[in-house]
Structure formats: structure tokens, C-alpha cells
Amino acid sequence: MFQTERRIITNNPYTDSFDFDEIRDFISKASKNLFISHKFKNSNKILVQPRGGFPTYEKVFKLYEEFTKAGVDILPLTIDSNTRLNDYEMAKKMLILSEESDENMLNGYPLITHGYRTTREMVTHFDTPISLRHGTPDARLLIEIALASGIFEIEGGPITYLLPYSKNFPLDKAFLYWKYVERVCADYSKLNEPINRESFGPLTATLQPPAIVIVIQLLEMLLSLEEGVKSFSVSFSQTGSMLQDIVSSNVIKKLARKYANMFGYSDAKIHLVYHQWMGAFPRDKEFSDSLINTSTVIASLVRADKIITKTRDEAFGIPTPEVNARAVSNTQYTLNILKGLPNISDEEEEENLTEMVDDIMEAVFNDPADTLWRQVFNSIKNGIIDIPFSPHIINSGEAITVRDKNYNIRFYKRGNIPISDRCLDYEKSKIDLGGMSLVENIIHDIGIML
């Protein structure tokens, strides 16, 4: 049945004709160096990964050369927005224009248009793990081609690639399309080293409460492990408070293991990814360098397995390969000089965050639906899971967060999120609106790094 579905999905006029036997053979014999799961196992440093992608093969090749010179650990492949929305006709037109004119008419690499046979040549040439970055609710064809190309890390998930990116793509469909992705990743994981799946913790990157970020990370992890994935990365982005980053990381590590074991996936490997600041960047490039540096220090303190970098040009648009590579070497430099950092924890904060996460998880599991994805679907519909600043119509948007005086993100209003009165009181006790209106506080809190 599933193989029939895969044949239908991959039989698409906009890409290569698929040869499944050849692809299985390629993955079975692929170099271990292409697997991030293998690199995680055999590395004792934080792996550094930038973001980036261009329309043409030549420009991506040049970008990878710059990254390699800068000492990159993991290469990115960012996909263009037309491909993300399954508009392969437009991607094809824009690729042709980009190839003819040297202008970049796409904001990423149209992987489906290039196809797996071409892309694989580049992937095997660099012999470095590549991470697929996209934002696609229906990524079925895209990930078939990525995996066939030798791209063995797939970012995203039904919640984290939908709530921040779409107004009305049906969430139930997203769950089913991502179920397909998980199953293909699980299937190929049996052939060589495991395929790694990574969730996208930054969400809307605007005052996201750690409790909700962690709940969504745990649920996407469980949905993936449920289908047989053996290597998974949970992630979150810099909150703006060093303490909150440390507390979040301690709690997410502890709870990811706890819930994975509870559901019978104790053999699955779980990693932590830290995103350098994902909110609005200053326009002063030296300030940006300073912010990026602070992010790197925090990634070290929280003992992340991978850090995803930003550049000093963030406020101005897509960086040049040189500027992007410079951010990689700077981050590597900072990581190298940070040795033997202290273990920091805050018992009271960790207890509060753990309790909130456990309460929300319990409410999700108490939903009467018969499968986990339906329970999660209902919980989002009911506002049990609710993220601030989502454009999606299904997200309830009742919960409101603000920063306390130390820039920790706190619940001001819980909406329908089932956190206890005790936890809400604790959160609210930290808030001081300082005589300004709520909205003035929120505007200030969004722009703390400007």
C-alpha cells in the first residue's frame, strides 16, 4: 500500500523519474560522513550549521565551498518558497530566469526542479551532512528527492512548519503528509546510519512561551518516533534571557528522554539544537556580531549538540556567501575558546516549567481521540496548545506573553492552555508592566535586541 502511494507521489512531471532500487542501493552504500546521526555520535563538539540556499546549482556549490573553507560542520539546503507551496511550475520558470540572467529569482534551491541525480553529485562531492530547511506543509515529494540526493537530515513537522507559516492550510492534512515523511525516513533508516529528523522550535520567534515550545517539540518527537524514526533533534531559539535558555534546555532534555521512554522508544537518540536569536536584529553590524557571540556562549552553556547561525547582515536580507561563511568561522572561534563551562540550574524555575509542560501534555493525552495525531490536532483546535503571533486560523491566539524585568518570557494570560493556577500565579508574580499599557510592553519586549 505505502509503496504504491510512494510511486504515485514520486511519479511527477516536474522531477526525475524515480528508480527506487537504485536509491535504496545508494543509501545503503552512502558514505557515513553524509549522516548527521553518525556525526552526532562521533563528535564531542557543538556542530555548527549556517542557513542558506540559492536558485542555481553553481551558486549553491560556491556557497558550500565558502562554508567548507570556514570550517562548517553541517551544510544547509534552504528551499525556495514556490517549491514549499508545491508550485513546481513557477519554481521551474524562475530557475530558468535565474540561470539565464545571474539574478536570483528564487529565495532558495528548487530541489524538485533540479532533481536527485544532479543534486546528489554536489552532495557526494562535499561529503558533509546536509540539513534540509524548508517550511513545507506537504513535503512528501520534496523529502523523497532530498533523501535520494543524500540529504539525511530533514527539518520540520506538522505543527512547527504550519502554525508559523500558513493562514489556512488544513492542519489535519499536514499531520497525514508528515506521517508519510516520518515513514519514509524510518524506512531508509534501516539501510545505513539513521536519518535524523529535526523539529523547528523557534515557531513564530515572537515571545514564544518555553512551556508551549517544549510541548510542541515533545509531541513532534513522539509523532516521529511512533513511525519508526530513530534519531531526532528537538530545538528552540534564544529566548532573550540566558537564564530562561538554561532552564528550557535542562527541562527539554529531561522531558524528551522521559516521554520517549514512556512511549517505548528508549532506543531512539535525541539531540538538542539551539538557534541563535531568531527575532528582529539590530541594523548596526557590530551589534549583530555581539548578539551572535552571546548566542554562541549560551549554546555552549546549555550544551547543545548543534547550533544554527545567523549573520551580521540579518537586518538587511539574504547574506552573501562570504558574510555567511564569516559567521560560521566566528561561531567556531567562540566555541573553541569556551572550555569547561559551569553547570547552571535554577530549581524553582525548572520545577515551574516542568509542571506547566507536564500539565499540558496530560491534557493532550486525555483527549478522547484514538490516535496521537488526532489528540494533538484536537488540542490545537481547542486552544490547549496555543502559540502567540501565529497567522493560522486554527490557532486560538488567546494566550498572551510578556517579558519580566530580566527578559524572561512569562504568561500574562493563559487562554485555554491548561496550566495550573499555581503556575500562572508564579508567572504573573514576575511581571511588572511598569505603568505602561500591555501593548506597549509587548512592542518593547519584541524589540529588545534592536
Binding site: 502567540p388 497567522p391 491566539g397
Partner: protein, 134 residues
């Protein structure tokens, strides 16, 4: 008082939209937020459905003008006399003078037009207008 709000056209700037919703609720309005990427017809449908007192359309990417051309036509098709039509945000692509923008949008059928006006100032004016002070 009931307000229908949202961002018009192919515009997904969600942050300001949420701030408008929160501010309106703080001021005691009953808010029906249609969110980003909303078409004019959807706004009018929602005003009729909710029997709203105010329609507050916002725009950030500056493309609102193209989406406003049918407003008078739609207003003429339905009895919307008691409804206050408001548009605000960044109402032009590139630089533009307030004294040019405001008459233009009023001619499209808006009662109040706010181009790059502070949110709370705009909401004060809406409240005063509803109370008949202006």
C-alpha cells in the same frame, strides 16, 4: 461594541494584527479578528454576520489601495449605514503625503483613515467618533 478587524490582501504581517486585537479587547470591544490575508468581501460578510459597529481594516505592506476599489460598490449592495469604516497602517508603497492619502481613501468609502498613526491615538479617535464627539 463589536469590531471586525483583519489585514487586507496578500499581507501576512501578523504581529500588528494581534496587537490591534489585544488593544481593542483591553478597551472593552467585542472583537472578530479575521487575521492576515483577508479579502474585502470576507470583511463585508463578517460585518453583516456579526452585526458589527466598526470595520477596522489594517495593512502593512502598503498594497491596501488596490484592495479598496470595490468598497463603495459593496457598501451600496448592503445596508451598512450604521457601520464605521476605518483603515489604518502603512497605506502606500514607498513615501507618500498624508494630505494625499487621506482624501483618496475617504473617496473609496472609509470614514476614518490612519496613515502611520500610533495605534492608541487611532483607537482613541475611533472611540470618540463612536461616542459622537467628533
Amino acid at each position: 461594541m463589536r469590531v471586525v478587524t483583519g489585514v487586507v490582501g496578500n499581507d501576512i504581517h501578523v504581529v500588528a494584527n494581534r496587537l490591534i486585537e489585544i488593544s481593542l479587547k483591553e478597551r472593552g470591544f467585542e472583537v472578530f479578528n479575521l487575521g492576515v490575508n483577508t479579502y474585502l468581501e470576507e470583511f463585508i460578510d463578517a460585518v453583516i454576520e456579526t452585526d458589527a459597529n466598526v470595520l477596522l481594516i489594517s495593512s502593512l505592506n502598503g498594497e491596501a489601495e488596490g484592495w479598496s476599489r470595490d468598497l463603495l460598490f459593496l457598501k451600496s449592495r448592503f445596508d451598512l449605514d450604521g457601520v464605521l469604516f476605518v483603515i489604518g497602517g502603512n497605506l502606500s508603497v514607498g513615501e507618500a503625503k498624508e494630505e494625499e492619502i487621506i482624501p483618496k481613501y475617504k473617496a473609496y468609502g472609509y470614514d476614518l483613515v490612519f496613515h502611520q498613526v500610533d495605534l492608541n491615538v487611532g483607537l482613541d479617535i475611533i472611540e470618540d467618533t463612536l461616542k459622537g464627539k467628533r
